[in-house]
Amino acid sequence: MEISFDFEKPVADLMHQIEKVKQVEDKTKVDMTATVAELETKLQQAKLQVYSNLSGWQKVQISRHPNRPYTLQYIEMMCDDFIELHGDRTVKDDKAIVGGFASINGETVMLIGHQKGTNTKLRQYRNFGMANPEGYRKALRLMKLAEKFNKPVITFIDTPGAYPGLEAEERGQGEAIARNLLEMSVLQVPVLCFVVGEGASGGALGIGVGDRVYMLENTWYSVISPESCSSILWRSWDFKERAADKLKLTSEDMFKNKLIDGIIPEPLGGAHHDPQKMADTIKARITEDLAILRKKEINNLVDERIAKFRGMGVVNEI
């Protein structure tokens, strides 16, 4: 059974009904095609109804759906070839960030992304997509490698945050992220970033400074998760819906506030409803953008990148 959320109940119910009718058809050999077709139409309507008016909190839930594709699955669906590279050359190999040379339509790129696990054991192995400093340093090492061989950098962001652990502090979590922000802003190759799930704060931004930053339709990106925001401002997790609303963390809000460069539409219901279609959409955008960015003089590209981030913020002159 598909995992579904409360607000998806009308859709789930109809899917359940269709399933039942089909079972009856199998058993009794009575032709139910008309009934199924009718229900399918209803299902399509229900889906449109449910998924076209999602609140901030509902999108946060979809962005965390356990069946959503993660970086390695996208790589499998998008790339003709991939050579994963490991380790930060200082401490260890962080499993929460993966990366390596990938071939997209014959063009070599450096693809780096957060990685979450697909079952309990793997989720632990990947530390729930929460990177330690060595993850950010591995990412930086790979970006520098890409720069050396003039390959564009593509990052996939999906993290509930940088890991808030004891060792992370000892090894300089803050410094690792800060260094990435500085280095990415002047990286001498095109950089494309995609928020494919959760974009939580510095942990997301740590691989998120690019010429084009996109969010998939049902993802979120903000300075803090709605739960933590609620617990700080209202001293309880109960206000997470309100916090999600106030933080303006959806792709539409982020685009409207000019904090991202575009929104990548998802299949109806979310990326997990049709992962291959999602991967194809992202791939098309990568191909299209790289063709444009490749033509630009690299110094201009870097200057434009800096100017874009320089322009973010709202202040009043008094």
């Binding site: 940088a162 890991y163 808030p164 652990g165 004891l166 992370a168 502090e169 000892e170 090894r171 300089g172 979590q173 803050g174 410094e175 992220i177 800060a178 260094r179 922000l181 500085l182 280095e183 802003s185 002047v186 704060s201 510095g202 931004l205 740590g206 998120g208 400074v209 990106y221 903000s222 300075v223 803090i224 925001c229 700080i232 401002l233 209202w234 106030k246 933080l247 303006k248 963390l249 982020m254 506030n257 904090l259 990148r305 800096i306 981030f309 320089r310 973010m312 913020g313 709202v314 202040v315 009043n316 002159e317 008094i318």
Partner: protein
């Protein structure tokens, strides 16, 4: 049985003859709890002369400690926060700002100024913790960005004094992007080969640590300052263990290799001046 007996009951001094001790003349050291007189505090650069504890101070005090004769030109003081998200939690963000303007007399959690230290030009941007926990929003990012441009244009070294709980939640993703913005501007400063000193003071955490605070050509700190990315409470809840003593103090961060040195506030000006001289000669 009391030793002394009050002969006349109640307070008999008339209101006109009442003597007032102005607030703030005496202060208690938060560490050793000994009383500190205001004049002594100023003389000791707001360091407790009993235990060496560095009291939390703001931009006004840092400027007076560091700039020669307390003379400086304030930069970009006309910037105030917008409210791009119409944010409201228990209070409206605009109301919170108004209260903070009134309470602190500041325009935001940062002031920037150009002056001289030991007769050498320096731009200092200094955060004020009094203003919404020294949180970093658009104004903080913008003032740092403008200060950096000013330093590049005039070829003046830049000192950033951080004192902040991190990004300002009421500006959400706008605050987050200030991290990228300030770091990108520091890349330009670095390209221009202009020295950048980052001074971390108590406390420096969150998004500030994960951007400009950790990017100094030299990164230094005051003794005992709390420095970290995640707050101690969050870490404790995550790992479900008690944190070791001295965790996330300046001394801990120095020991792990993320600070160049720790400097006592009373010797800070001399040390900074000699660094600037070395860079020049």
């Amino acid at each position: 049985m009391a030793w002394f007996k009050r002969e006349k009951k109640g307070i008999i001094t008339s209101t006109e003859d009442k003597k007032e001790a102005p607030d703030g003349i005496w202060n208690k050291c938060p560490n050793c709890k000994k009383p500190l007189h205001y004049a002594e505090q100023v003389e000791n650069k707001y360091v407790c002369h009993y235990c060496g504890y560095h009291l939390r101070i703001g931009s006004k005090e840092y400027f007076s400690i560091l700039f020669d004769n307390n003379q400086f030109t304030e930069l970009f003081n006309n910037l105030r926060s917008g409210d791009p998200l119409q944010f409201e939690d228990t209070k409206k963000y605009t109301d919170r700002l108004k209260e903070s303007y009134a309470k602190t007399g500041l325009n935001d959690a940062i002031r920037s100024a150009h002056g001289k230290i030991g007769d050498q030009e320096l731009v200092i941007a200094c955060m004020d913790f009094n203003f919404i926990g020294g949180s970093m929003g658009s104004v903080v990012g913008e003032k740092i960005a403008r200060s950096i441009t000013y330093c590049i244009d005039n070829k003046i070294p830049f000192l950033m004094i951080s004192k902040s709980g991190g990004a300002r939640m009421m500006e959400a993703a706008f605050s987050l992007m200030q991290m990228a913005k300030t770091s990108a501007m520091l890349a330009l400063l670095s390209r221009a080969k202009i020295p950048y000193i980052s001074l971390l003071t108590d406390p420096t955490t969150g998004g500030v640590t994960a951007s400009y605070a950790m990017l100094g050509d030299i990164t230094i700190s005051e003794p005992g300052a709390l420095i970290g990315f995640a707050g101690p409470r969050v870490i404790k809840e995550t790992i479900k263990k008690d944190l070791p003593k001295g965790f996330q103090t300046a001394e801990f961060v120095l020991e792990h290799g993320f600070l160049d040195f720790i400097v006592d506030r009373r010797e800070m000006k001399t040390k900074l001046a000699s660094f600037l001289t070395m860079m020049k000669n």
